[in-house]
């Protein structure tokens, strides 16, 4: 039996969660105070994911704040950054506009308006 301790990051409560593993099987999840916490803990063990936020170069020389519109595999964060850094945004853009699609299962979208 192996134990994994983590802090749930679903909400700002930051519950300390302990997952007990029996081989590949999850034996127990403790410490969470909601169902989403259990789901998070399971995901953290099996396939951890993160939303990436950064900035992208604009064609006018400025930068634009962006994010992935859903979490991507944690192991792909730096690869995602490379794609973000290689792209130049055409203006104007509005919040939510897709700037890069199909990035590790998500889209990179604008998080601010810019003209």
């Amino acid at each position: 039996m192996t134990k994994r301790e983590m802090t749930c990051i679903i909400c700002p409560m930051g519950c300390p969660v302990t997952v007990e593993m029996r081989g590949e099987e999850i034996a127990s999840i403790r410490g969470n105070t909601c169902k989403r916490g259990a789901a998070y803990a399971e995901a953290e063990v099996r396939h951890p994911e993160r939303t990436v936020t950064s900035t992208m170069r604009c064609e006018n020389g400025g930068i634009l704040s962006v994010k992935t519109d859903r979490p991507i595999p944690k192991a792909k964060i730096m690869d995602c950054m490379s794609l973000i850094n290689a792209h130049t945004v055409k203006l104007p853009v509005s919040i939510g506009d897709i700037l890069l699609s199909d990035v590790f299962g998500s889209n990179v979208v604008a998080t601010e308006n810019k003209s």
Binding site: T55, M56, R57, I63, N85
Partner: protein, 487 residues
Amino acid sequence: MYDVAIIGAGVAGGLLARTLAAYDIKICILEKESDVAMGSTRANSGIAHAGYDAEEGSLKAKLNVRGSRLMEQVTKELGVPYRRTGSLVIGFGDEDRETIEKLCARGLRNGVRGLQVIDGEEARRLEPGLSDSVTCALYAPTAGIVCPYELAIAAVGNAMDNGAELMLDFEVNHIEKKEGHYEIFSDACGENCCENLQKPRKVCARYVVNAAGIYADEIARLAGDDSIQIHPRRGEYLLLDRECGNLVSRTIFRTPSKKGKGILITPTVDGNLLLGPTSVDGEDKEDKATTEEGLAQIMARAQENVKNLPLRKVITSFTGLRSAGNTGDFIITSPKEGFINVAGIESPGLTAAPAIAEYVAEMLAGQGLALKRKEDYQPFRKPVYAFRNASVEEKNEMIRRDKAYGRVVCRCETVTEGEIVAAIRQNPPARDLDGIKRRTRAQMGRCQGGFCMPYLAEILAREWGVPYEEITKSGEGSEISVCRTKG
């Protein structure tokens, strides 16, 4: 060919340049740093001393008292804040009282006006914040406070407005005596741009004044004079928030004793409270680091003198290097025809500086420099308008003339973009963030530039026409960013 080359753009060199700029001669100021007022002038107590400290008959005594009398007019013409606040040397017990009596007598012989020995109660009436253990004090009403770097910046600026030339990043490495003039060489590349400059850079001048502060001994040696030794005397300071500026209204000195002159507590012209300096003889002329011990010492000593010091209100600490000479007096000498040392300008050097300028101008005249008054000499320097001190009418007038005065950039000190731009366009121009700070006070308040620094860098980049990533804190090598994040 220049008539006079002044090495060093501190307060002594700056005021000398300004004095000489009144005459029909060609002047240049050679400064090894990337801005003026970067040596001893940058970090000292900012006191215009009354003149009781120096030994009777010394140059220090004579020039201090004279400088103290000139200070009011000089600062008025240059638009530099100066306040005749008075000072107190406080004593604890009989031994101190004896010393204070001696200081008073010496001061009177030096020609200081208005000196008085008062008892502890009277001292506390003047300064209610003083420690209850104070038993006596020397009251000197003619002492004052002045901002040393603002004085030097304004002096150099006014000299430039009247035709003097300032060469920055000009570290003097070599001096040659020729027939009737000197050749001065610098191996350093200049003004952030090496390609177009011939190396070594060379300046020819008929007269040379060595006002190189802590490096004055090395400059003297380049001219063949081995008699001077200067060592850096480190002095650490703590600056407290403006909230504490009213704790004392005069400069408070401790009675000098075998242990030294002690820690002073003084309001500054900007309304802050300054504590310090420590006094440690060092070797390294570039070591301006503060130390844990030094800062702890200031706090401990200052608390002996003034009650309820709010030491949590410290907003910054810094170290100054005083140019301590080997004679105990100012070293103003001419070892060679046409070469004058202005060395060992330690306390009361700031106060004496206007008088030193007069004195050296006379020496130069004595060596044959023709001092013919310029007809269009302008003694008044147009100050950078301080928005925060202006009346509502004046503020509106400023904004009407230039909208940039309606944009407050530094919120802690209420400094507008108009003032920042003026400081960049005026002589001597601000080229980096510290230069802006010393000229306008932007970044000098509570947040220490946390909010406005990125904007100031933008204004600097725009005004100088350089990329943002080339903007520095204080000259080349102190860039505030390393690259663009997105190429």
